[in-house]
């Protein structure tokens, strides 16, 4: 499937990416002036991944950004001043100086969940957001990003596994920027493609050139639509590169020079500019206009941020608990009756679709099956397992990898009634219930 973009949308993608980068550069200047409090984490080289994925979402959808996903925050409607003031630890920042960086959010309007530093933790949280969205009838998708390094955490595993068992509408973007602090991806995961992690969860996945914003958008849109239709989570691996050290203090001397050069030649913004020109989507004048607008906006945003004072010390003791300062109210998009007795009542019994016997494993030979006592006749149909992924390194803009479908499981048990074995004591002492 291809999702055509209008001229305005094309230009908007440019606007967000360029703003993302200009903001990054501005922060580096502020860091050098000692105006940034604490560390500074660059997004350089990864703008297409954040912007392209978030752009595929509807207004009602939810995101949780990580530290290099400022692009996603901009697409969701936050202003550069929010990020500036977070880094400058100012009173008018979204967290009023209680936290920094992209550690902020907005539950009610923009549907953005604040990340925490602990990598991987957002995966189960956004799974919960998606499950609640389904429960409330909102028809939403939840999206979050993890780095290549974060895919090694237990939270990533528990979260994605749970999302898969729940068929939650979760789009998980694995931002493979080749490095986790000083550790190369090969020391993180013994896989060439991180998308292969999806196989372990039986979910769909795809790989995309993370420096090709149109491809990223197309891939993300397909994933978002698939999720919204109720087909379970999708993992997207975006291959990209962290073009600086882990943070401003880190000169990244452990990265081979040639590696930076390789990716420099694939800079997402330079590539997209070329794409817009070659496809006659813009001209020099419209580019100049957009660049001037970004300059002007950023200047105003910085002025605002600089005027904001540091927070008053008293604030340190406030807000530990919610003492009536917030209302908690779900946004119901379905009738509460459906989830209230008697309508909600069910027969509390599992549907056990297959008995998990050796003979059902699709990969075993008929000989092995025969040995298991089923005469080899039960070699179940092999899972489709066909890989529809494109080459991991598409060359041109707009080239999109299609989703790899999860393995399809045989719907029904092929074991004959007579061959069923008792489970032992079930809920009501019955054996072999369906």
């Amino acid at each position: 499937m291809s999702y055509p973009l209008t001229r305005d949308q094309h230009l908007e993608l440019y606007y967000f990416m360029k703003l993302n980068r200009a903001l990054d550069e501005q922060l580096v200047r502020l860091f050098r002036q000692n105006v940034v409090v604490g560390g500074l984490y660059s997004n350089l080289g990864q703008e297409a991944t954040s912007v392209g994925t978030a752009y595929a979402l509807e207004k009602r959808d939810w995101i949780a950004p990580m530290i290099r996903n400022v692009g996603g925050l901009l697409v969701k409607g936050f202003k550069p001043r929010d990020i500036l003031m977070q880094y400058m630890a100012r009173k008018d920042s979204p967290t009023m100086g209680k936290d920094g960086t992209s550690h902020f959010g907005d539950l009610k309007v923009r549907h953005v969940v604040s990340p925490i530093s602990m990598l991987g933790d957002l995966v189960p949280v956004m799974t919960g957001v998606a499950i609640a969205g389904r429960y409330l009838g909102q028809n939403i998708v939840a999206m979050t990003w993890v780095g290549d390094g974060a895919t090694s955490t237990g939270a990533f595993h528990e979260g994605l596994n749970f999302a898969a068992t729940q068929r939650a509408a979760l789009v998980l973007v694995v931002e493979n920027n080749q490095w986790a602090y000083s550790t190369p991806v090969a020391k993180q995961v013994p896989l060439h493609n991180l998308a292969d992690r999806a196989k372990a969860y039986g979910i769909a996945s795809s790989i995309v050139d993370g420096n090709d914003v149109v491809a990223v958008y197309q891939t993300a849109k397909e994933a978002v639509d698939r999720c919204r239709a109720g087909n379970g989570p999708v993992l997207i691996e975006a291959k990209t590169m962290r073009m600086k050290g882990h943070a401003q203090h880190d000169p990244a001397e452990y990265v081979p020079k040639e590696m930076f050069e390789y990716w420099e030649a694939r800079d997402p913004i330079a590539r997209y500019e070329k794409y817009l020109t070659e496809n006659n989507i813009w001209d020099a004048k419209s580019k100049a206009g957009l660049d001037a607008r970004i300059d002007k906006e950023l200047k105003e945003e910085l002025e605002f941020a600089e005027k904001s004072p540091l927070p008053p010390p008293d604030l340190a003791e406030q807000g530990v608990y919610c003492e009536g300062c917030h209302t908690v109210e779900a946004e119901w998009k379905r009738s509460k009756k459906e989830v209230t007795p008697p309508q909600s009542s069910v027969k509390p019994e599992w549907e056990v679709a297959d008995f998990g016997g050796f003979d059902l494993a699709s990969t075993i030979s008929s000989k092995a099956a025969a040995a298991a006592g089923n005469g080899g006749k039960s070699a179940a149909s092999a899972p489709s397992g066909k890989s529809m992924r494109n080459s991991p390194e598409p060359k041109s803009n707009g080239q999109k990898a299609s989703l790899q479908k999860p393995n399809e499981r045989p719907e029904k048990s092929r074991i004959a009634e007579a061959e069923r074995v008792p489970f032992g004591r079930g809920p009501k002492g019955k054996a072999g219930r369906k």
């Binding site: 604040s114 933790d121 956004m126 957001v129 998606a130 530990v320 919610c322």
Partner: protein, 324 residues
């Protein structure tokens, strides 16, 4: 009405809250079809359906994480930890994600994390823990540890309606051992309020959970010896009801703290500090404590018996204190 066990009181609280408010959902391991390891959630699935009674994989981090996400959506999830010992597996989610959420970015987390805790049932080192102090040391959480069926029901209802994350410890030794008649109306018990279970003039015992009952038994015996003990049941450990503690200490001038948690870093130390800060002039003796030993909870009955504090420990320590 017939008397109700603490376990049944907890079940009733969940049941009634789910009945009252469709934003209340439950999530945990084996809570649905099976009804929970201790049957606290028995019957919930049948009445409220698969969407509101969610059986999860064995993934404590996913349980707490997903519950946070649900609460961000305005739901009020109740997460069950099959045994409270497994709370260690989701320590990060609770202390970093849940507890800091409102402070950092104003996002309330109206969720309850509950599970069976405590020893005395030969559960061994991994099914007997009292891990409350890890969480009492975590600003942003509320921590409840009730001792009676009435309080368990009323406090759990308050916890579900609270806009903050609440840890609700259920002493499994008490589950089926304490019983009482409960009011038929919809009542709650306020979080953060201790209660004086027994009035006395000579000495204050501050305690909670299963040790509350042991302390009351000891107080009855001490009364026969002419030592009039006041027993304060904390009920909520965070926020701590300093007022009730200090009020009692100022009255009796002597403070003994009794808890089943291990000694070092137990809440007794905190309460002793509260008393020194707020009632030093009123103290007529040292602040003493009766606690479990500083070891993991051992399995074999004689070992666990030695590990746990008991009535005799309370009696001898109280006599020692009363002699001042």
């Amino acid at each position: 009405m017939a008397p109700v066990t603490m376990l049944e009181a907890i079940r009733q609280a969940i049941f009634e809250e789910m009945e009252r408010d469709p934003s209340v959902v439950t999530i945990g391991e084996d809570i649905g079809v099976y009804g929970g390891a201790f049957k606290v959630t028995a019957g919930l699935l049948e009445r409220f359906g698969w969407e509101r009674v969610i059986d999860t994989p064995i993934s404590e981090t996913a349980i707490i994480g997903a519950a946070v996400g649900m609460s961000y959506q305005g739901l009020r999830p109740i997460a069950e930890l099959q045994f409270i010992d497994f709370i260690a597996c989701c320590f990060n989610q609770i202390t970093n994600f849940v507890a800091k959420s409102h402070y950092r970015w104003g996002a309330p987390v109206p969720m309850v994390m509950r599970g069976p805790s405590g020893g005395g049932v030969h559960g061994g080192p991994f099914h007997s823990a009292n891990p409350e102090m890890y969480f009492v040391h975590t600003p942003g959480l509320k921590v409840i540890y009730p001792s009676t069926a009435y309080d368990a029901k009323g406090l759990l209802k308050s916890a579900i309606r609270d806009n903050n994350p609440v840890l609700f410890f259920e002493h499994k030794f008490l589950y089926r051992r304490v019983k009482e008649e409960l009011p038929s109306d919809d009542y709650t018990v306020p979080i953060g309020k201790a209660i004086v279970r027994r009035e006395g003039r000579d000495l204050t015992i501050v305690t909670y959970a299963a040790m509350m009952h042991t302390s009351l038994e000891a107080a009855d015996e001490l009364a026969k010896e002419g030592i009039d003990v006041e027993v304060v049941d904390l009920r909520t450990l965070l926020p701590l009801d300093k007022e009730t503690i200090l009020h009692s200490v100022k009255k009796t001038n002597k403070l003994l703290i009794v808890h089943e948690d291990t000694r070092t870093g137990g809440i007794a130390g905190e309460i002793a500090a509260v008393a020194c800060e707020g009632a030093f002039e009123d103290l007529d003796g040292p602040i003493l404590r009766v606690t479990a030993k500083d070891s993991p909870v051992p399995f074999s009955p004689p070992l666990e018996e030695r590990f746990l504090p008991n009535k005799n420990d309370i009696l001898s320590t109280a006599r020692e204190l009363a002699a001042y």
